[in-house]
């Protein structure tokens, strides 16, 4: 059977990601040459500053970018399956708005150090989604439309509070900080931050991996899924929790990153011509490649860093426009 072709797709994807990884390590305000990178890999003697930049800034940042792209790509593909809609993203359940609110609260009330900010953003994202799940469970049918409505309610509530906070914020420092957070950036990533969110990221991925076949079945109608013996409501809740852990752990340290969760699964399905968990992983690789290129550009096209979501939006929106004119959008 055609398993081989699938393996080649993964190998090529990982090779491109590897090249992008090297690119990301070398570019930036402090240039690290490929020779220096090679020396570090081989454990040879290099300049102390280069070593410091590599281990404490560049490497954690690049790893975070890869995790971010992978996580958003995988979570996006899971959401598109659960919601049986190719335009679904993790934002539907309010994770981004919740995290945004958490960040805004930290900026205004705790004049937040970046750890406090990350922590409240993470909690905000989780809390928003759990509230939406709770609200759904109060509904009679507990189906997809109730989930979407609950997500809209939570998102609007969070946006409302954010607007209020912005209105009372000090425009010079606080308002600017909230706005910048919502544009996303990998600039502040350090090894400590990476290690702080990693356990939650991994926990989320493990949940999704364990339930991978059952999640596959969720892409069918609820009745069809149940007739195949899947406890649709329970599996869906856990799948949402797993993807929320992944997304919240990313955006809590990077701020909002747009379009990756929508675009990557799409490209993944077009290339693989299938829709299974491996396609979800493959979408993660695609997400990582797009994000790593975007982040390298963010660091290099102007003298100061450009927020990441500006670039992902400029890549993502034209891609969507391209899909509108050329493709069957039901992929």
């Amino acid at each position: 059977m055609k398993e081989k072709k699938g393996i080649y797709q993964f190998i090529i994807g990982l090779m491109i990601l590897g090249i992008a990884f090297i690119l990301s390590i070398t570019v930036g305000r402090y240039h690290i040459s490929i020779e220096d990178f090679g020396k570090i890999l081989l454990g040879r003697q290099v300049d102390a500053t280069i070593k410091m930049v590599f281990f404490h800034l560049r490497l954690p940042r690049t790893i975070m970018v890869i995790l971010g792209g992978m996580g958003l790509g995988i979570a996006g593909s899971i959401y598109q399956m659960i919601f049986k809609n190719p335009l679904a993203t993790p934002d539907i359940m309010g994770v981004s708005s919740g995290a945004n609110l958490g960040a805004a609260i930290a900026i205004i009330f705790f004049t937040g150090g970046s750890f406090v900010l990350g922590f409240t953003a993470f909690l905000g994202g989780l809390l928003a989604v759990f509230t939406a799940i709770g609200l759904t469970n109060l509904s009679r049918d507990k189906g997809i439309s109730s989930i979407v409505l609950a997500g809209i309610v939570i998102t609007s509530m969070a946006q409302g509070i954010i607007m209020m906070l912005k209105y009372f914020a000090d425009p010079e420092r606080q308002l600017a900080a909230i706005e910048f957070w919502s544009m996303g950036s990998f600039a502040g990533i350090t090894l400590d931050k990476l290690l702080a969110v990693l356990p939650f990221f991994i926990l989320g991925i493990i949940i999704l991996f364990l339930l991978r076949w059952q999640i596959n079945i969720l892409s069918l109608s609820d009745d069809e899924g149940r007739s195949l013996g899947v406890n649709v409501t329970v599996i869906r809740t856990f799948a949402i929790i797993g993807s929320t852990l992944v997304v919240a752990s990313i955006v809590s340290v990077t701020g909002l990153i747009t379009f990756i969760g929508l675009m990557a699964p799409h490209i993944g399905r077009i290339i693989r011509k299938k829709n299974d968990f491996n396609t979800g992983i493959f979408s993660g690789i695609i997400g990582a490649i797009i994000l790593i290129i975007a982040d390298s550009l963010a660091r290099s096209i102007s003298s100061s860093e450009i927020p990441i979501s500006i670039l992902t939006t400029f890549i993502g929106a034209p891609y969507l426009a391209y899909l509108i004119v050329t493709q069957d959008r039901r992929l």
């Binding site: 399956m81 007739s227 195949l228 968990f277």
Partner: protein, 258 residues
């Protein structure tokens, strides 16, 4: 094998079906007939354990269907919906493979052995050459065959089909129904199929239930009835009809008055 006792069901307050009871043995295909909105799908969902009735019981092998856990229940009953809900690129073999789900642990993934079984199920509906095709690119009739293969892999004694012919052309309608009948006979399954066309039901089903106003109007064995019986039973729901006999088969025609 299947005992339906006094079923009443509704989605909101208004009951859609009321007091429906019947028995069905294995090796038999039962056709459900009735006008739109009479509760055919509702009845199928109750029998499949997907909708809890307000009253009554569905017994499979003497056990109430609602007492089974969802995975266990899926090994006894399969349900083929009116329209499949696959919207993403999916390999035909992967669609069939979904039928193995009731036999998997919640954390496990189908094995190569399961894939082989799925391939064998495809063979039973003569679709094995399409195993690595994209499901979305198949014709409607072919898609229905793939879903039948999925139900076969699910290997349940009771197989439910909700208007599997509704979006098919004339040839495909007959192809699908004869395949369903063949499977029911060959594997000694118990089948229930909801249909719109009474002639299809008369042609392929062993038993027929006519639903009217949410109630069971008539339940008969197609082998034991004559022209007058058919005419009387069907005119109550279809109005002015005429029954004609041709080669020992009965056909229902609409009376045209001018």
């Amino acid at each position: 094998m299947l005992k339906v006792e006094n079923i009443s069901a509704s989605y909101n307050k208004e009951p859609i079906i009321e007091n429906i009871s019947f028995d069905l043995n294995s090796g038999r295909l039962l056709g459900l007939l009735g006008l739109n909105g009479v509760g055919k799908t509702t009845l199928l969902k109750v029998i499949g354990g997907l909708l809890k009735p307000i009253e009554g019981k569905v017994l499979i092998g003497d056990k109430d269907i609602l007492l089974y856990k969802s995975k266990e229940r899926a090994r006894y009953v399969s349900y083929m919906p009116q329209r499949n809900s696959i919207i993403y690129n999916t390999l035909v073999l992967d669609v069939v493979l979904m039928g193995i789900t009731p036999y998997l642990n919640i954390f496990s993934y189908p094995t190569d052995d399961h894939k082989k079984k799925a391939y064998d199920a495809l063979k039973m509906v003569n679709m094995e050459k399409y195993y690595s095709n994209n499901f979305l690119h198949l014709s409607e009739g072919e898609k229905q065959l793939i879903l039948i293969a999925r139900s076969l892999l699910q290997n349940s004694q009771l197989m439910l089909f909700d208007e599997p012919d509704s979006s098919l052309d004339f040839n495909n309608k007959h192809m699908i129904l004869s395949k369903i009948k063949e499977i029911i006979k060959e594997h000694n399954k118990t089948g229930i199929i909801s249909l719109h066309d009474p002639n299809m039901a008369l042609e392929y089903c062993d038993n027929i239930i006519i639903l009217k106003d949410g109630k069971l109007h008539t339940y008969f064995n197609t082998g034991e009835i004559d022209k007058d019986y058919i005419s009387k039973a069907f005119s109550d729901i279809y109005g002015d009809i005429e029954v004609v006999e041709y080669n020992n088969r009965y056909f229902i025609l609409r009376q045209i008055s001018d």
